[in-house]
Symmetry: C2
Subunit: 135 residues, 2 copies
């Protein structure tokens, strides 16, 4: 088992510009955003429809990769917990999962929301959500 | 935006040993498996409980990364569709999302299921599932 290279397939364009202004969960007032897909991967959007529910996978490039325990939601009264049981951005591979709805399909990308990722967050994959509830 | 390095945090130990024997969706008879976490990241499991519902993120190392359109479920009657609207393992970053239940917490890892990933599939992250339905 070896390391591998992960490549951005796109980037988030959002009004959220700082980590401090970003809500920590989708339901806490996150805005809509534009997911700009890099030209060489735009064909991968073919068939995408307004109303589709998708999982957007981001690469939280500001996160620390050497953290293994955190206090969830940065609340000092919460016990130290392994990062794999939390949504902390700080984790060995700083992947973020964001459940969104497709609001518009345009040349160059898709408008999606709500999403708490900040402006310029790299996107590494997009997948349909339906199956997550299908078992 | 640049490429980055993704590191395995663990590996799937499963009775599924070939891509041909692997069911394509969790509900189609996938077995349980052991998720062995590499020693340096085992602390990240602290607090994990039997019964937890998690998303396991795999790196589908046998997949092709140069495919942008597929016929879903390999059915020739399905239209060619952008990979980002499908669960095809073939995609620019071959990430797999697997919703599982934690069945046992042991030294060295967790028993999980059901999961359709084959033996020796690298695991790159583990996250709680609850929030996915929370909006």
């Amino acid at each position: 088992m070896k390391n591998d290279v992960i490549r951005p397939i796109g980037v988030i364009r959002s009004e959220l510009t700082s980590l401090d202004s970003a809500p920590r969960l989708g339901e806490e007032g996150a805005p809509d955003a534009f997911l700009e897909v890099v030209p060489e991967y735009q064909e991968g959007l073919d068939g995408m429809l307004v109303g589709d529910e998708m999982i957007v996978i981001t690469w939280l490039h500001h996160a620390r990769r050497d953290v293994l325990k955190v206090r969830p939601r940065r609340d000092p009264s919460n016990p130290l917990t392994g990062v794999f049981r939390t949504r902390s951005p700080h984790r060995p591979n700083p992947l973020g999962l964001h459940r969104v709805k497709v609001l518009e399909v345009r040349a160059g990308g898709i408008k999606i929301g709500p999403i708490e990722a900040i402006d310029q967050t790299p996107v590494v994959d997009i997948k349909p959500v339906a199956w997550l509830n299908d078992y």
